[in-house]
């Protein structure tokens, strides 16, 4: 065990970092798209069905197939990491989008009515009422998306994007369980840490109603 870590420690560290980088880039992108889009859909409700439906479809495409399908796309196909980030963003988008939409829609209509009656502008209503009340639901979406992303990012190694999946694929190819575990354990730990950390924040954001 120790000798294995001595021999591979540096590489595990590097790949963990790569894994984190892929996941975090994709998450930032997904939040950057999903949150405003989710908010927009609460204002333009007739688009909510089709847009969330589309995100749903993206989610159902098997990850390996999605990576493969994106490979021939110009610009995207040129860099494995770029492609991986875009694909991961696609997976992370649905939970964020769906929870943002659902979180804001579930705000008690009495409260939005009062917000109107107090003379709040649309922006004030969003920032002072809707987002704070929906925050824990939105963060629950971010949490789900992050855990999914950490998992799916291991597959990104199949197209040469790096990350902890590289150790897993190499281990499978050479029938080396140690190598498989060297990839799988840090990946699982990353997912668990992200889940626990975001869970903690989420609980803090819950608004007590009664």
């Amino acid at each position: 065990m120790m000798s294995f870590l001595q021999a591979n420690g540096w590489e595990i560290g590097r790949l963990t970092f790569e894994h984190l980088w892929l996941t975090m880039s994709a998450m930032l992108l997904a939040i950057g798209i999903g949150l405003p889009l989710g908010i927009l859909l609460t204002r333009r409700q007739r688009f909510a069905g089709p847009v969330i439906g589309f995100a749903n479809v993206v989610q159902t495409v098997p990850s390996l197939a999605l990576f493969g399908l994106l490979l021939p796309v110009p610009w995207l196909g040129e860099s494995a990491a770029r492609l991986a980030i875009v694909a991961l963003t696609g997976y992370a988008l649905l939970p964020i989008l769906r929870n943002t939409y659902a979180g804001i829609k579930s705000v008690d209509p009495t409260l939005t009515d009062v917000a109107h009656a107090m003379g709040m502008t649309g922006w004030q209503r969003l920032v002072k009422v809707e987002l704070p009340i929906a925050a824990s639901v939105i963060l629950a979406g971010v949490r789900t998306a992050t855990v999914t992303c950490v998992g799916v990012a291991t597959i990104a190694a199949a197209i040469g994007a790096g990350g902890l999946g590289e150790l897993i694929f190499r281990g499978v190819a050479s029938v080396d369980n140690g190598l498989v575990l060297a990839g799988a354990i840090p990946a699982a730990l990353l997912a668990l840490c992200a889940d626990a950390g975001l869970g903690l924040v989420e609980r803090r954001l819950v608004v007590r109603q009664t």
Partner: protein, 249 residues
């Protein structure tokens, strides 16, 4: 000086399907008076009330507040000058009593110290000690206390008019009576134009100067509170006898 005159000029409201909610209502409510709107559920009371701050738009006719057409007024400014109190209180659950109460001032960009002073004043108007309640959240309040905070919030921006939609409808009779007494006392001191929607005839008689009965979107009676008991109007008589289960005629 604005004094909170409210006028409904041939106001009608209909759904897109053609169902008529209100039919050519014309009423002038003088500044500083309290008018109760009574009638069955679905008679159009709440709709009429919500037209005053532009939450509902008339399909024809217009509503004037101090001579200005609500339809063409700056709706944000208009609403900030009109307090709104509802049965469910609508307190924001993520805000403390202080923030809830001072929210309209916060929206208007007033300074923190000014907001703090006004909040203390408004809370004391409704009988709450600011030092004790300031930091509490709505879930830490009883139903009556919540309703008091809701009223304090509506008063904080010193509105010229108060719209109250069944403000005490969800309270037990004892708390309700306390709240009614507090409100009456408060209105005597601050003088606002109040539009009060209620089912409760006794509440209306106790608080209002004028009673307007609505039925199926039309005004069926419009009389002073002191004229209700001797009224010959069939609708009013029915209403009164319904309240007293026919025991008093």
């Amino acid at each position: 000086m604005t004094k909170g005159d409210v006028e409904f000029a041939k106001v009608s409201c209909a759904f897109a399907g053609g169902q008529v909610l209100l039919h050519e209502i014309s009423l002038k409510l003088a500044g500083g008076t309290t008018t109760a709107l009574l009638g069955r559920s679905g008679a159009g009371k709440t709709t009429l009330l919500r037209m005053v701050n532009g939450l509902v738009r008339p399909t024809s006719g217009c509503v004037l507040v101090d001579g200005v057409d609500v339809g063409s007024a700056d709706v944000v400014e208009l609403r900030r000058g009109i307090g709104y109190v509802i049965q469910e209180t609508g307190l924001f659950p993520h805000m403390t009593v202080e923030r809830n109460t001072g929210l309209s001032l916060e929206l208007a960009g007033r300074s923190r110290s000014e907001i703090r002073a006004r909040v203390t004043e408004s809370l004391s108007l409704v009988g709450l000690d600011a030092a004790e309640f300031r930091e509490r959240y709505p879930w830490q309040l009883s139903g009556g206390q919540r309703q008091r905070v809701g009223l304090a919030r509506a008063l904080a921006s010193e509105p010229k008019a108060l719209l109250m939609d069944e403000p005490f409808g969800a309270l037990d009779p004892l708390t309700r009576a306390e709240m009614q007494a507090m409100l009456k006392n408060l209105l005597n001191r601050v003088g606002k134009t109040v539009v009060l929607v209620t089912h409760d005839l006794n509440e209306a008689l106790y608080l209002a100067d004028r009673m307007v009965f609505l039925d199926q979107g039309e005004v069926v009676a419009d009389l002073g509170a002191d004229k209700v008991s001797g009224s010959e109007n069939a609708y009013v008589r029915d209403y009164v006898s319904a309240v007293h289960h026919g025991l008093i005629s």
